[in-house]
Subunit: 197 residues, 2 copies
């Protein structure tokens, strides 16, 4: 069975999959744009190979015009069965999900799909470095949180969110720069390799 | 810049992204269907977490009907920047591309994108297990070939293909079964871990 989802007003459609231009100024850059820029930096400097997966789409109808590119005329968004990002760093398998919230007080679990939690649990069992990158837009703060810290809270039926305060205590603030803008490998080095990039 | 591609007659559109039914009988199963079944088996038996990436699509227009799922009404296929499959096995990052050919004599390089070769080169540098799964449909034979063996031939300007004979000599025949149908981890165990699954 394939689950289809509605992305109201197109807000959640991944940037890399919708044709529009991103403002050249940093202010207003989405977390996704920052991470894509960071991953391109890692790729071009041979630090790591980490990519965003394409948005999963269920294609129903395709037109094949003679002289131009095949055109998909009917398709729907599917619920992702994995996280958005994975790759390799220092020989280790890397896997993470990135989310930003406009809330000043908490991060809502509703933006993470149960499949993604299940996926992270599995890859951790197999030896992955699995984590979340969570941005509080109101403070322009971006936290690195190990998946193993978030998963038990997510699976706790009583909880619907984690407070900003919790991220301040349990998360690690990702250093911000121009390039790379979200230097999360620096955090991974501290946590898993005890050396700096 | 985004490269768009035409998939003539829809032949190459990935199965998991087009709505149609696959024959229940093994005969006529595509390589992709076999690998998906195999990966599901590995996932459900906790052997490995390996997924096919969604087909990369450039979304141009989306309709948001009030009561039903968001409908993509204009989109195009993009040239993939990575391979189709990746994941984790015994703590190692796994990355591969799978292709089948109807030819009885050779496998044409035209079905592999230069980006995919570049990607495999990069992940190998970072310590990945990178390879190809190539099926000769005429013989119902599926070969495992390490990426490091194919890449130099692909990059050789004089070469446009590799012969079936080459695969017989340099590739490893993947054992075929009912479940998993394309048991490629068995080959990985022999090559990289020297033990059986």
């Amino acid at each position: 069975m394939i689950e289809l989802i509605n992305y109201p007003n197109g807000k959640k459609i991944s940037e890399s999959n919708v044709t529009h231009h991103i403002s050249a100024s940093r202010r207003g850059m989405t977390l996704e744009a920052d991470i894509n820029q960071t991953n391109e930096y890692y790729l071009s400097t041979d630090k790591a190979v980490i990519h965003k997966k394409p948005t999963p789409v269920q294609i129903v109808h395709v037109d094949y015009p003679k002289r131009t590119a095949a055109k998909i005329t009917e398709a729907y968004f599917k619920v992702p069965s994995t996280t958005d990002y994975n790759g390799i760093y220092r020989g280790k398998y890397i896997d993470f999900e990135a989310k930003e919230t406009a809330s000043k007080t908490s991060f809502p679990f509703s933006s993470i799909h149960p499949h993604q939690i299940e996926h992270l649990k599995k890859v951790l069992q197999h030896g992955a470095i699995g984590f979340f990158i969570i941005r509080f837009k109101a403070y322009d703060e971006t936290f690195f949180v190990e998946a193993s810290k978030i998963i038990p809270h997510y699976l706790d039926d009583q909880k619907r969110s984690l407070s900003y305060k919790w991220f301040k205590e349990e998360g690690i603030l990702i250093p911000f720069g121009l390039s790379p803008s979200v230097h999360y490998l620096k955090v991974i080095d501290q946590l898993y390799f005890r050396r700096s990039v």
